[in-house]
Amino acid sequence: MADKLRTQQQLEALQNKYIGTGHADTTKHEWTSNIARDSYASFQGHPPLLHYMSIGMGQGVERTRVHCMESMVLPCGPAPATEEG
């Protein structure tokens, strides 16, 4: 009982610190959003990768970066309206 409580608290603390972590009730939408955001953040954090992508997409590095930034807003569209469970 106490253990369960402790794990619960630990998980909450973890989640406060790292938004991308999940739990058994994480929905597909939440998870994919996090994945997308992490990915875009990561692209921006690695300039060579960003550069490579810009060349591939035929646009300026800065434009690609802005694109990555903007894509982080609702990367998977709004959350599904109805909760199944």
Binding site: D3, L11, L14, Y18, G20, T21, G22, H23, A24, T26, K28, W31, T32, I35, A36, D38, S39, Y40, S42, F43, G45, Y52, M53, I55, G56, M57, T64, C68, C76, G77
Partner: protein, 1220 residues
């Protein structure tokens, strides 16, 4: 002297005066007739020092430090000596009380343990004043009403003081007869210092006029209101008299009805006769619980038994059965459940000797013990007599079905509270959870009505208080703003915690108040606490100030600042200003450097109070400034710009207590200044400091010392200046024997001298104090040694010239020899001086060594021990001086003392031996190692920790540096002895033993040692096995793994669980220690681990997992990925383990493998289960995912699976697909 003592003295005086007045005899107090002499304690110049202003300490803070930090102590304490300008000729209060309190206090064996556990019995008189605060003025009244009531109380106080003054004047004018003069004179002086103490009596008016004979004890509140009081009350509040004066008077508990309070209406109780009680109890509830009064008294000791209510049987016997009828109790009646303490020692005169009939044992007093089992609660840990008053309802046997919902709720809460308070830990836990979960359902009222009175119970113990406070804390969270109507009541109960001696109680108090503030909101907190800010009772003001500081820290200083500004500038009463400033003082104490952003605001808030007309306000302002400066050090001088001028000019004007405060503020502000300014301002203040060097006042001395050391620490003050202006006076006033006697002074003086020394240099200081080393007072010598030690260890001995060096060594040797109690101070001092002098010591070494040898021979064990310790300290210097011969002599002598019987001394001797071995080396050790080591082997069996630690260290050193000097057989013998040491409690010993195994194995080869260790794996004791496993790991590390692994793996074939486990554990340690070397052994051990990982026993798998972890972390990037992946496959099914240890190890191992083989590969295992239909599967998978995410989120990006979305809008990270 405590307040209680004072009170007693004063009462005795009042009595004596009363009798003296009646009989006209002055004989009884002849010794006190000092009218022809000037009073020792009173000021001569009454014009200047305003004796005629009545009590010049009016409104002074009589609070005590309450074990708070020093800062608060300074701010609060207000003993009588302060303010006296004439020297005190008695011992200080601290000296008088030295044996009564604190560490030196003698234990009162008569005081039972139970009594000691009670909080109230530990509290000072000041803290006990909390009991005088009632709940009456809760939120029931409006803000306006409360304020009016406060106004009324203040008015009463003023009038009372006026009357007092009149009385005093009358006496001073000599209205009384001549004989009384001496007495009167005496009274007046005592009176001067004490009236503020009386304020605490305000609430019940009792004892207020105790010392004033002409108007003996105006006990207005006890039976009725006295004439004056009523008059003032009427003129003061014609509109509110109903609720305030009368209501207030009734509500203020007299001594008589306090006890009835818990169950409410005292008036109703009074009207009842004993008849009612007995009849009601009998008819309504035949199986009634014990009447509380009796419950407490045990058999035979109860002198009040004849006053106890008659039982039903007795009444039946006494009264005729006809013509009488037993009445039903009126509806709504409930029997009195007064706390037992009221009945027990009451009005019954004790049997005072003489003849007494032997009474037969009263059957009523037997078998009516306290209930051990409360219905619906279960077995409690304890049940106290006092608990009956609160929880009595639970045992009245009422039928639950007939009770209303409210009553049922009340009982439910009661039961839960009882479980929390008195229950066993598991009971407590569930009860606490139930209360928390149902808090909103119960409602704030029902809960707090029961919790709060419990907290005010006098017999409360720490643990109970802690638990109840915890309940409040939990409930607060749940209730949130529902708590508002109870804020004041909660504060009344919780505020005393803020001045508790116990640190944790204070923290708890802060926590609650801060939560309360967050729940109730600032506006509500302010309106609730505002009336207490200028409360007549200083205690209330003090605690309120502290509570406000907590509120400020909870809700932020800026939100409270406007309010504080208004309070500090209050025109209406100085008390409000005082409290306001006090809040500002408490904020930095509470929050530390977090005040910095708001420093300017806070300083501006109190700036004007520095020139307040009330001395008390000025003082507290200076203390607040000191606290602010201390907290903001070393920043924020610009915030203090405005007050620098008033502070410095103010310091010139003040005297006594006020000056101490100002100096303190100055002392804390100077270190904030830059060089130039600090120099200037120090010069400005130094004159006053030098003057106050001579002050007899302890408090002043403390402040002056502190300020001096702070000034000396700033860069603006030069050594030259200190040498010229300060040092002479300083040494003249503070380096006197008397200062060494009091521990606090001692510490302060040493500290200040060291600070000065840091500026002016070692030579200057040592030169001045070195002669004291030969002083006849031991504590003075010790103080000198400590100072020298600190100064020299900070700055070295280069500054000490030849002549001084001679005197120093001579003096310190003298001090060493003369000590009557062996003290570590001298030992440290000696060691530091010798080490600092280094080779310059050479001429003195023969003398020192002969002293040591002499003392090694001493009869007293502590002397021998100290001598041995001394050798440890100076061994290095002896080597530096090239005194190898002397060292040889010393170690030979030490060797002979190895038969020492006192373990402490033996430990020191071994330590000395070790230090000599370390510096002279194994080869040139005298006596030779081959003689020494066999002598040590039996000592290894000694169970004393100090001995064990030192021997094992010595043996380990020998094994490390010169194993060849002893043959292998001896080493094996030592190995066996060492096995026992693996069970030692002290970690250091176990570690040393393990290391020694490594050294020995290196010396004589691992085979024999390993055989010993492997055998030891079969023992039962877990700790021993664990340590053996560690030792095997160490042996493997020192002798290369290939010498150990084959034997170890062979051992795994033993079909015994313990052994196999031990082997796995050894492997785990082994791989942890060998790190990268593991890459050569991975494939060798893989089959073994395979086997372990698929074992039935989960401990097996757990240990195997930890082996995997260490191997994996060792071989990162070394090309063993295939083996790791193979192990991962075996490991992976274990993620469904539920036992916490097992699952933790397994997850760790998977993490380690992830590090070894890369995130991508391991994540392929994880994706499968993240959205598994079964929660049981999802949970561990998400845990793995989270671990991976935290450790290597970035590395996961390329490996995230492609989510096939049915939603067309979703575009999944197409950027990754870019290909050039």
């Amino acid at each position: 002297m405590s307040d209680a003592d004072f009170k007693r003295v004063r009462e005795a005086q009042a009595e004596r005066n009363a009798s003296g007045k009646k009989s006209g005899k002055g004989g009884a107090n002849g010794q006190r007739q000092n009218e022809s002499k000037v009073s020792l304690t009173d000021a001569m110049d009454t014009d200047l020092y305003s004796k005629d202003s009545g009590d010049k300490f009016a409104g002074y803070n009589t609070s005590i430090a309450a074990g708070d930090d020093e800062m608060m102590a300074d701010a609060d304490e207000d003993d009588e000596q302060d303010g006296r300008l004439v020297g005190q000729y008695t011992a200080t209060a601290a000296q008088i009380g030295e044996w009564a309190t604190g560490d030196t206090a003698e234990d009162d064996i008569l005081e039972s343990r139970e009594k000691k556990a009670q909080i109230a019995s530990r509290e000072t008189d000041y803290q006990k004043r909390r009991f005088k605060r009632g709940f009456e003025d809760g939120e029931a009244k409006s803000y306006k009403e409360t304020m009016q009531e406060r106004e009324m109380e203040r008015e009463e106080e003023r009038v009372r003081r006026l009357i007092e003054e009149q009385d005093k004047e009358k006496i001073a004018r000599g209205d009384d007869d001549d004989e009384m003069d001496g007495v009167v004179e005496h009274q007046a002086t005592l009176k001067d210092g004490t009236p503020e103490r009386d304020v605490k009596k305000v609430e019940n008016g009792d004892g207020e006029n105790g010392a004033t004979e002409a108007k003996p004890r105006v006990r207005k509140r006890r039976w009725d209101t006295s004439a004056e009081d009523a008059a003032t009350a009427e003129e003061g509040a014609a509109d509110t008299n109903g609720s305030t004066t009368n209501g207030g008077t009734v509500a203020k508990k007299s001594r008589w009805d306090t006890t009835a309070a818990p169950n409410g209406d005292a008036a109703a109780t009074k009207k009842r006769s004993k008849w009612d009680v007995a009849a009601a109890a009998g008819s309504a509830t035949p199986a009634v619980g014990p009447v509380p009064g009796q419950a407490m008294s045990s058999f035979g000791t109860d002198i009040s038994s004849r006053n106890a209510p008659l039982s039903d049987e007795e009444l039946d016997e006494m009264l005729p059965s006809e013509g009488f009828k037993i009445l039903e109790p009126p509806p709504g009646y409930e029997p009195t459940r007064a706390p037992a303490r009221r009945l027990a020692p009451a009005a019954t005169p004790a049997n005072t000797g003489g003849f007494m009939m032997q009474e037969s044992v009263d059957p009523r007093s037997m078998g009516k013990q306290l209930p051990s089992d409360i219905p619906g609660v279960g077995d409690l840990q304890f049940f106290k007599a006092e608990d009956m008053a609160y929880f009595g309802k639970l045992v009245d046997g009422a039928d639950e079905n007939e009770l209303s919902v409210e009553e049922l709720k009340q009982r439910k809460i009661m039961r839960l509270l009882l479980k929390v308070k008195n229950g066993t830990p598991p009971m407590r836990k569930t009860a606490l959870r139930q209360i928390t979960d149902n808090a909103r359902h119960f409602g704030a009222g029902a809960l707090f009505d029961q919790i709060l009175p419990l907290l005010m119970e006098k017999s409360l113990e720490d643990q109970e208080r802690h638990l109840l406070v915890k309940v409040i804390d939990r409930v607060l969270y749940k209730l949130d703003d529902l708590v508002r109507p109870y804020v004041h009541k909660i504060l009344v109960v919780i505020e005393p915690l803020l001045i508790d001696q116990d640190y944790y109680a204070r923290v708890e108090g802060r926590e609650i108040i801060s939560n309360l503030a967050k729940a109730a909101g600032l506006a509500h907190m302010i309106s609730t606490m505002r009336p207490d800010i200028d409360h007549v009772d200083e205690y209330v003001r003090n605690t309120t100030a502290r509570a406000f500081a907590v509120v400020a820290s909870a809700l932020g200083i800026p939100t409270l600042l406007p309010f504080l500004k208004a309070v500090c500038k209050s025109k209406k009463s100085w008390q409000a200003r005082h409290t306001g400033v006090k809040i500002v003082q408490q904020i930095p104490i509470l929050m530390g450097c977090a005040v910095l952003p708001h420093l300017k605001g806070l300083v501006d808030c109190i700036a004007e109070n520095l020139n307040d007309e009330q001395a008390k306000v000025r003082t507290v302002t200076s203390l607040a400034l000191a606290a602010l400066a201390e907290a903001s050090n070393p920043f924020g001088i610009e915030s203090f710009d405005d007050i620098l001028n008033p502070l410095w000019t103010g310091a010139r004007k003040q005297r006594g207590k006020g000056l101490a405060g100002f100096l303190k503020a100055v002392g804390y502000i100077i270190p904030l200044m830059d060089e130039e300014y600090s120099n200037y301002y120090t010069g400005q203040i130094m004159e006053i400091l030098l003057r106050e060097f001579a002050s007899p006042d302890e408090e002043m001395k403390k402040v002056v010392l502190k300020v001096i050391s702070q000034c000396a620490g700033t860069s603006g003050v030069t050594a030259q200046y200190l040498k010229e202006k300060v040092l002479n006076d300083f040494f003249k006033s503070f380096w006197v024997r008397r200062m060494a006697l009091d521990k606090r002074n001692y510490k302060q003086v040493v500290e200040t001298t060291v600070d000065l020394g840091n500026k002016v240099g070692v030579g200057e200081i040592v030169e001045r104090v070195v002669n004291n080393l030969k002083d006849e007072s031991e504590s003075y010598r010790k103080m000198t040694v400590e100072t020298i030690e600190k100064v020299i260890s900070a700055m070295g001995a280069a500054d000490i010239n030849e002549r001084l060096e001679e005197r120093l060594v001579d003096g310190i040797l003298h001090a060493l020899q003369e000590q009557s109690v062996e003290d570590v101070v001298l030992l440290n001092g000696f060691g530091t001086v010798v080490n600092a002098l280094g080779v310059r010591c050479k001429p003195y070494l023969p003398q020192i060594v002969s002293t040591i040898l002499w003392r090694l021979n001493n009869k007293s064990a502590t002397v021998r021990q100290q001598a041995a310790d001394l050798i440890t300290r100076i061994a290095i210097v002896m080597k530096q001086c090239g005194e190898d011969g002397l060292m040889g002599k010393l170690s030979t002598v030490l060797y002979e003392y190895l038969g020492e019987e006192y373990p402490e001394v033996l430990g020191s001797i071994l330590g000395a031996m070790r230090s000599i071995v370390t510096v002279v080396g194994i080869a040139s050790m005298q006596p030779p190692i081959k003689d020494l080591l066999p002598r040590l082997t039996p000592i290894l069996r000694n169970r004393h920790e100090k001995v064990q630690e030192n021997t094992i260290d010595l043996v380990g050193r020998i094994a490390d540096r010169g194993p060849e000097s002893v043959n292998a057989r001896e080493w094996m013998r030592i190995c066996f002895e060492l096995l026992d040491m693996l069970k030692a409690h002290k970690k250091g010993i176990r570690r040393a033993a393990n290391n020694t195994f490594g050294f020995i194995a290196k010396a004589i080869g691992p085979q024999d040692v390993l055989a010993t260790l492997l055998n030891n794996l079969r023992v039962q004791e877990r700790q021993s096995r664990v340590c053996t496993a560690v030792a095997i790991g160490i042996v493997a590390e020192t002798c290369a793994p290939f010498t150990v692994l084959p034997a170890l793996m062979n051992e795994y074939r033993v079909p015994e669980l313990n052994v196999q486990n031990g082997v796995l554990k050894s492997l785990s340690f082994l791989f942890e220690y060998i790190g990268e070397m593991a890459k050569d052994y991975v494939y060798a051990v893989t089959p073994l681990i395979e086997d372990a990982l698929v074992d039935r026993d989960q401990v097996h798998r757990q240990t195997a997992a930890s082996v995997v972890k260490h191997i994996a972390l060792g071989v990162v990037g070394l090309g063993c990925e295939d083996a790791m992946l193979h192990l991962l496959n075996l490991l992976y099914p274990n993620i469904f383990e539920t036992s916490p240890h097992v699952i933790d190890r397994v997850i760790e191992a998977i993490d380690a493998v992830r590090v070894a083989v890369g995130t991508g590969a391991v994540m392929n295992y994880v994706w499968a289960g993240l959205f598994h239909p079964a929660r049981k599967v999802r949970v561990p998978y998400w845990r793995l995912y989270n671990e991976a995410y935290v450790q290597s989120a970035d590395a996961m990006v390329p490996y995230y699976p492609v989510v096939e979305e049915d939603v067309a809008a979703m575009v999944g990270r197409v950027e990754l697909g870019v290909m050039i």
